[in-house]
C-alpha cells in the first residue's frame, strides 16, 4: 500500500465569450478495492452548481450548465489516496470483450496481430498481454503531436507513432482479437505532467493493470480516474457551448507524489 498526493487541473480558455455551456467531467477518482480515496476536493470556476451521477462504466460524472457569458472553464482536483496493487477490482461488463469505436482493427492491425499471435506459445493471459506489448513497443514509437484525441487505433498504427492513448487503443484492439476482455483506463501516474492512459485486462475473475506506453505492469504509482471500452467512454471533460467563436486553448497540469 502506498499513500499518494494527487493534483490535476485543466484550464479551458475560449477566444471569445461563450454561453449555454453544458459540460460533463470524469475527474473524480472512484473509491475501489485498489484505491482508497482519503480526501478529494473538486473546484470549478466560474462557480457553478453541479450534479454527480455514476455512469454505465462506474465512473463518477460531474455535470453542469453555465448559462451566462464566460471566457474560461477551470477545474481542479486535489486529494490524497492510498493505492494497493495487491488487491483487484472485479466489476465486469461483457462488452469489454468486443471491439469498440476506437479499437476496430484495420488490415494493418490484423496483420500485426496474426504475426504476434503466431509467436505465442502460452495460454497464460498475463504472459500473452506481456507478449503483445513487447511486439507493440517494437512497432510503435512514443511521440507527441502525431495523433489527436480523436485518432483511432487503426489510424495511429498507420502513423507509426503516438501517445499513451494510442498505445492503449492498439493494445486493446490486439487483446480483443485474442479473446481477452480488456478496458481503457484514464488516470494519473507518477512522472507524467498530464493525464495518463493504460489498460486493464480480465484474468481469473479480476482486473489487472498494464501500461503499454511504458511496457510494464501497473503498480501503486497509478491512480484511476475513469474506465470504459475506449477513450470515448473516459474523456476527462466533454462540453457543448454556444458562441460565435468557440475555439479553445486547453492547459493541463498534474502532480502525483508520495504523501
Amino acid at each position: 500500500m502506498k499513500r499518494i498526493y494527487f493534483y490535476f487541473s485543466t484550464k479551458l480558455t475560449f477566444d471569445d465569450y461563450v454561453h449555454e455551456h453544458s459540460f460533463a467531467l470524469r475527474v473524480i477518482p472512484p473509491e475501489t478495492r485498489t484505491q482508497h480515496i482519503v480526501s478529494c476536493e473538486l473546484s470549478i470556476s466560474p462557480i457553478t452548481a453541479v450534479n454527480q451521477t455514476v455512469d454505465a462504466f462506474g465512473n463518477k460524472v460531474t455535470a453542469g450548465y453555465i448559462k451566462g457569458d464566460h471566457r474560461f472553464l477551470d477545474f481542479e482536483i486535489k486529494g490524497t489516496a492510498e493505492t494497493d496493487c495487491t488487491r483487484h477490482r472485479t466489476d465486469h461488463l461483457p462488452c469489454y470483450l468486443y471491439q469498440s469505436g476506437f479499437t476496430k482493427p484495420s488490415d494493418g492491425l490484423k496483420a500485426l496481430y496474426e504475426q504476434a499471435a503466431a509467436e505465442l506459445h502460452t495460454d497464460n493471459i498475463t504472459d500473452r498481454v506481456a507478449h503483445f506489448s513487447e511486439v507493440l513497443s517494437e512497432k510503435f514509437t512514443y511521440r507527441k503531436n502525431v495523433t489527436t484525441a480523436h485518432t483511432t487505433a487503426a489510424e495511429a498504427f498507420a502513423a507509426g507513432a503516438g501517445v499513451c492513448q494510442d498505445f492503449s487503443h492498439i493494445m486493446l484492439s490486439l487483446l480483443r482479437m485474442n479473446g481477452i476482455p480488456c478496458r481503457y483506463i484514464a488516470g494519473l501516474a507518477f512522472c507524467d505532467g498530464e493525464t495518463h492512459s493504460w489498460i486493464e485486462y480480465f484474468e481469473d475473475g479480476c482486473w489487472k493493470g498494464f501500461d503499454p506506453a511504458n511496457n510494464c505492469l501497473v503498480n501503486e504509482d497509478y491512480l484511476v480516474l475513469s474506465q470504459g471500452r475506449d477513450f470515448g467512454d473516459c474523456a476527462i471533460d466533454r462540453g457543448v457551448m454556444f458562441g460565435s467563436y468557440t475555439r479553445q486553448l486547453q492547459l493541463v497540469r498534474s502532480v502525483m507524489k508520495a504523501s
Binding site: 449555454e20 453544458s22 450534479n51 455512469d55 454505465a56 455535470a63 450548465y65 462488452c95 457543448v240
Partner: protein, 445 residues
Amino acid sequence: MKEITTPDFTDAIGNANEINELLRRFGVKFGIYKNGEFKEQFFPFDPIPRVIDAEQFADIENGLIQRVDALNSFLYDIYHDKKIVRDGIIPEDFIYISSGYLAQCEGITPKNKIYSHISGIDLVQGKDGEWYILEDNLRIPSGASYPLIARELTRIASPDAFRKNNIVDNRNYADLLCETMEYVNCGGIRAILTPGRYNAAYFEHSYLAEHTGSILVRSDELFVEDNILWHKTYSGQKTRIGVLYRRISDEYLDPLTFLPESLIGIPNLMEAYRSGNVGIINAPGNGVADDKGIYYFVPKMIKYYLGEEPILKNAPTYLPFYEDDRKYVIDNLDRLVIKDVAEAGGYGVVFGSDMTAEKLGNLKDMILSQPRRFIAQEVIDFLDLPILDDGQTVMRKADLRAFVLSGETTRVWASGLTRFSRNPDSFVVNSSQGGGFKDTWVRSL
C-alpha cells in the same frame, strides 16, 4: 356479420383525388435522402381500405401484446442481469456486436421498466390466411399519423361508409399515446422532440404534438440544468419537461454521452434520464431488440420470459451464423430473401431470384466471410390487396404496421398503417422505396 360492400365506400373512392389533394395540402409528405439530396415525396393514399374482421384482429392483438411484452422483458434483462445470455438462449455475440446495443445504457432502469413504449410491428398475411411477423421496430417507428389523418378526411368524404359499417374508431390513438407518455412522466410537461422540418416524418411529429397536447420542440429549445430537462420559453422562463417523446435516433440524443459531433442532441440528457428526472420514449438502447439478427430469437424470448407458445409466427428465418443454417442458405440462395442486418427502410434487402449468377456468387462469398451480418428468409407469398391505379383496380403486395403501446398495460391500436408496393413485381413496401398507404379498418363485433 355483415360483409363490407364496395358501394359503401364508393364515395370515398370517387373522392380519392380530393382526399389526396387535401393530404398534400396538410403536408402529408414523406422525406427521403437520395444521393445525399433531400427530397420530399408525397405519400400516395389509396382509398380502398384494408379490412380486418374482429375475430382475426383479436388473434393478432393477443400475439402482438405477447411479443411486445417479451421484447420489453428482454431489453430490461440485457441492460441488467443478462440471464437469457447466461442461460444460453441467445449467443453473446448477437447482443454485443449489434450496433443497437448501447453500453452507455447498462444499468439504467427506465420508469416502470418500460423500454419500448411505442412499437411498430410489421406483419404480412400469407395466401393461406396466416399472419407472419416481418420485423419489429422498437426505436422510433413512424407512420401512425398517416392512417389517422386519412381516416379523418375519408369520414368527411364518405360519411355513409362509417354509418353503415361497424368499424372501430381509430381516432383514439392520441389518447393512447397520451396515456403512454403520462405513465412514464417524471414530473413536468410532455414534449415531442423533432430534428426539424427536413426530417422524413416531420408531418407526423407536428400532427402528434398537436393531437396529444404536447409541445413540439427542437433541441436548441431544451437544456439540462440541475439534472433536470427544461424548455426555454419565449419570456425567458423555463418549464420542466417530465417526458420526452424524441424522434431522433439514439446516437444523436446526447453529444456528451453519444456522438460528440451531434448538433441535434441535448447535452447531459442522459444524466437527467439516468437520475429518473425525465422519461424518454422510446428508451435509448432499444435497437438491440429489433436488430434483424435478434428477430430470429424473439419466439425463443416469448417462451423464455413468458413461458408461453408464440401466438404469431416469424417468417421462416435462417442465420448463416449457425453452421447448419449457413449450408442451407448457401444451397438455396437463389430462392431466399437476404437481409443485411445493419440496414433499415427496405435498403439492404435482396431477393436471390432477382440476382445474376455472378452476383449470387459474390453474395455467397460475403455470407461466408461475414455470416453474422446477414439473415435469410423464405419468401412468403403474401396476399395481394386491391389498389386503385388510374381508375382500375389492380392487385399489389401490402404489409401492415401495427402499433402497440405499452403503458400500465400493453394495448394494440385498432388500426394500423397498410403499405403497398406500387411496382407489381416488388415485395418491398417501404415508403422510402416509393410505396403508398391505405387506411386499415378493423371491424367491430
